[in-house]
């Protein structure tokens, strides 16, 4: 493979990555006119959260903000309004969690495609190095090694992000204040109360009840009707 061939391959991979991640579209597209909130865009979910907050529905507002944050974690407005609503509901600032703790710069989907691109770059570079015809010449060997290492690091970063994102799948927003009981039955002994608009982590489901851990680390079974999953599958 000639030097021109390598350049063509790298350009093709970059084009694939850009088109898949949607970065190109987001950066170059002209501002679209305001439309009625379609589901599942960060802006639409954010606007829906604002509307719920203004109507005095803090739990639904928190739910919309959390979902919007999933699509656009770097948006400071989402974080600010989520903080405001939680504070108004008498909840402490949310601590922990990948989104809050690390102020991530990109959405999980962007990180996924970044990892795929890194994996492709590393794989192609390693195969070329293995072929040795081009790699026999020092001119190509060093750049190929740099591309392979960089691609590998991107792939590792993506894997780490995927592991951290997995915790989001188990987040639930408390729709209304409800008792958490010691067992998943209707007349179970109440242990504590989960507060409306609080975010809890689900651990195990059993017949309409979910074993949750609240922000204070307490565990109890809560009826599933009182909870809404942040991530819908």
């Amino acid at each position: 493979m000639s030097a021109r061939g390598i350049r063509t391959s790298v350009a093709a991979m970059l084009a694939m990555w850009v088109s898949l991640s949607g970065v190109c579209r987001a950066a170059s597209a002209p501002p679209a006119p305001a439309v009625t909130a379609p589901a599942n865009t960060a802006a639409a979910l954010y606007d829906a959260g604002n509307a719920e907050a203004r109507q005095g529905h803090p739990a639904l507002a928190v739910l919309d903000y959390k979902r919007a944050q999933l699509l656009d974690p770097a948006d400071p407005d989402i974080a600010a309004n989520l903080h405001q609503v939680r504070e108004s509901a008498g909840l402490p600032p949310q601590t922990g969690g990948w989104l809050v703790a690390h102020e991530r710069f990109a959405s999980p989907n962007f990180m996924y495609w970044l990892g795929v691109f890194g994996l492709a770059s590393a794989g192609v570079s390693l195969v070329i190095l293995r072929a040795r015809r081009l790699a026999a010449r020092q001119t190509y060997r060093t750049p190929l090694r740099i591309v392979a290492i960089s691609g590998g690091l991107l792939a590792l970063l993506s894997v780490g992000d995927a592991l951290a994102t997995n915790a989001l799948l188990h987040e639930y927003v408390v729709l209304d204040t409800a008792p958490a009981t010691g067992s998943p039955v209707a007349n179970g002994a109440p242990l504590f109360t989960v507060i409306q608009a609080d975010v809890v982590h689900g651990r195990e489901q059993h017949q309409g009840y979910l074993l949750v851990t609240d922000s204070q680390g307490r565990q109890g079974w809560v009826a599933r009707t009182h909870l809404a999953a942040v991530v819908l599958d």
Binding site: A34, A43, L70, G123, V127, A189
Partner: protein
């Protein structure tokens, strides 16, 4: 024979010294007394056995051997007195008696005619605990009015004590509890963590990292007492019990062996003293867990009879009041209705429904805040704040608020009702109410609490312009099986390509060296057999193989012209090619030294080409 000789001499010296000092000393008859306190204990408790021996010629005190009882020496003393020329020594040892099982034990007296002691151990732990190691403490620093039983370790180095105001409570009722851990200075190296609860029917508020520290004397022994204040709550009814455990590290001193150098001699009593043995003994540390005595509770279920409809699980003693942020307002402007619930109890279950859109008022969701007045959140005040807006002008009334709870003292449900609040509402400046009916204001915004703030003052950042494409699912790609397969397949594909390319390369590499090695062997054999034609032809073939491998061309295409062009016309390779052509028809012989020289040149050329 030196040892018994020395002991005899020592006994003789002591005897002579005693005779000189005491004159005509009389030999008193040795006597042994012993007592045990208390004589009845529960299993898990301990008693104290004191053995005193007085008189001349007394033997060393040894603990009795009783099956089912363990004797642990905790203190010892020795006294020598001379009265009217008569010397008398008294030794006493105090043992802690630890029963292994319930029953009646007879402790023999090591003296003829003595009466054996009797120790009764009951299985239910209901023995007389007065004077035993399980003592009732009383600390003035406790925040809980009740007293607790200190449950000590076998050697008395530490104890754990619970102070509880009551042993009867209701499900959901919260009671304050003080957890005290006492440690003997010098006997406990460290506390290895806060006490932990043993009992799955209770929940305990998290314990502070820094407990209170006080000094206390218990059973005549000084202790440093660490106190954690917390609150306890039962989660199910029944006859229940709990204990608290604390991990700690204690120092254990091992005394020197009793078979002293002076055993059997008259110096035993002086030189084989237990204090001296301890002084020369060793000390080790051991991690143990000390637990409190089980605290028994009667946990009652909340009665269903008479339970108010608005009961949310609050149990305790509460007082209720309400007020409003402004008794004069303008129609359409929000004011805040506040409900204060103060007292002691489980505030996490204190909830109020507040107002649900009464006549002439628009209401919004309330929010709650709690201000504790103690360290564990048992006492304090919870305030519910609800934004309300008057729809009509005039003298309006905010209805009374109800709050229900269960009072464990009166053992019944209580319902308190606040008084209705009067609010003077004036008409809005434009003469029309700002808020129409029971619907949110225009724009869906809850007006900020205060003085009719504009909508932008609700603390929320403005809406965004909706751009971008819709996402079909919120589930991140990295968590979808189909997308997890993509990198997996890529890894498989690249791994396959990696090994396939490597194998092809190895195959290509492996052919040239094998052929080259064959020609090099042939070159060596030709030189050995003095065959110039075969020698140069083998040399040429080896060079063709090497050059073809490196230049990626078939070996037969490497000709004299190619070699001259790429390696030089006067190079060794070109000369070998020419000599190979000449040798086939000239039949010119070569000297052995010529073979060696050409062989060396060809090998060097091959090395240069391959490198």
């Amino acid at each position: 024979m030196l040892f018994p000789t020395f002991k005899s001499r020592a006994a003789f010296i002591v005897s002579v010294a005693a005779a000189l000092l005491a004159g005509a000393a009389h030999a008193a008859t040795p006597s042994v007394t012993q007592r045990i306190e208390p004589s009845t204990i529960g299993l898990g408790d301990t008693a104290q056995l004191t053995i005193a021996e007085s008189g001349d010629g007394a033997a060393a005190i040894t603990p009795p051997m009783v099956a089912g009882l363990e004797f642990l020496a905790v203190s010892q003393s020795q006294r020598i007195e001379a009265i009217n020329g008569v010397t008398r020594s008294t030794s006493s040892v105090t043992y802690q008696v630890i029963p292994q099982h319930a029953g009646v034990f007879k402790i023999p007296v090591p003296q003829q005619g003595g009466t054996a002691l009797e120790l009764t151990v009951t299985a239910n732990g209901a023995g007389n605990r007065s004077g035993s190691a399980n003592a009732t403490g009383n600390s003035s620093s406790s925040a809980v009015s009740g007293s607790g039983e200190a449950h000590a370790t076998a050697d008395g180095s530490a104890f754990v004590r619970l102070r509880l105001p009551t042993h009867e409570l209701y499900v959901g009722e919260r009671i304050p509890v003080d957890i005290e851990v006492g440690t003997r200075d010098g006997m406990v190296s460290s506390l290895n963590g806060a006490p932990t609860l043993n009992g799955d029917a209770f929940t305990l508020e998290p314990l502070a990292a820094n407990p209170e520290r006080t000094a206390e004397v218990l059973n005549g022994r000084p202790y440093t007492v660490f106190t954690w204040h917390s609150a306890l709550e039962a989660v199910k009814p029944g006859k229940l019990s709990l204990t608290m455990e604390t991990p700690l590290t204690v120092k254990i001193r091992h005394a020197a062996p009793q078979d002293s150098f002076f055993a059997g001699s008259g110096l035993d009593d002086l030189l084989d003293d237990p204090t001296l043995r301890n002084f020369f003994g060793t000390e080790t540390e051991k991690e143990i867990t000390v637990a409190s005595a089980p605290a028994a509770f009667t946990v009652l279920a909340l009665p269903t009879a008479g339970r108010p409809a608005d009961f949310t699980g609050a149990v305790g003693h509460f007082t209720v009041s309400s007020d409003v942020s402004d008794s004069q307002t303008v129609a359409g402007d929000p004011i805040t209705l506040r409900l204060h619930v103060a007292g002691a109890g489980n505030f996490d279950r204190v909830n109020a429904h507040m107002l649900q859109n009464p006549d002439h008022w628009t209401t919004y969701a309330p929010k709650a805040s709690f201000k504790p007045t103690d360290a564990v959140g048992y006492r304090g005040e919870k305030t519910f704040e609800q934004p309300v807006i008057a729809r009509d002008s005039g003298s309006e009334s905010l209805p009374a608020l109800d709050f229900s709870w269960f009072d464990p003292t009166t053992r019944r449900y209580e319902t308190a009702q606040t008084v209705p609040l009067r609010v003077a509402v004036t008409a809005a400046p434009n003469g029309s109410p700002a808020v129409a009916q029971n619907t949110p204001p225009a724009g869906g915004q809850v007006p900020a609490i205060g003085a009719g703030a504009p909508a932008a003052q609700d603390g929320l950042r403005p809406d965004h312009v909706v751009t971008g494409e819709r996402s079909a699912s919120l589930l991140p790609l990295s968590q979808r099986p189909a997308f997890i397969a993509i990198p997996s397949l890529m890894i498989l594909a690249f791994s396959g390509a990696f090994f396939w390319v490597g194998r092809r390369r190895d195959d290509a590499d492996s052919g040239a060296p094998n052929a080259l090695q064959t020609y090099q062997s042939l070159l060596y054999e030709a030189a050995k057999s003095n065959d110039p034609e075969l020698f140069f032809r083998a040399g040429r073939a080896a060079l063709q193989q090497a050059c073809g491998s490196i230049w990626h061309v078939p070996p037969y295409t490497v000709t004299l012209e190619t070699v001259e062009a790429r390696l030089g016309a006067q190079g060794t390779a070109a000369q070998v090619f020419r000599l190979a052509d000449e040798a086939s028809y000239s039949n010119e012989a070569l000297q052995p030294c010529d073979f060696r020289r050409w062989h060396s040149l060809i090998e060097r050329q091959l090395t240069e080409v391959m490198s």
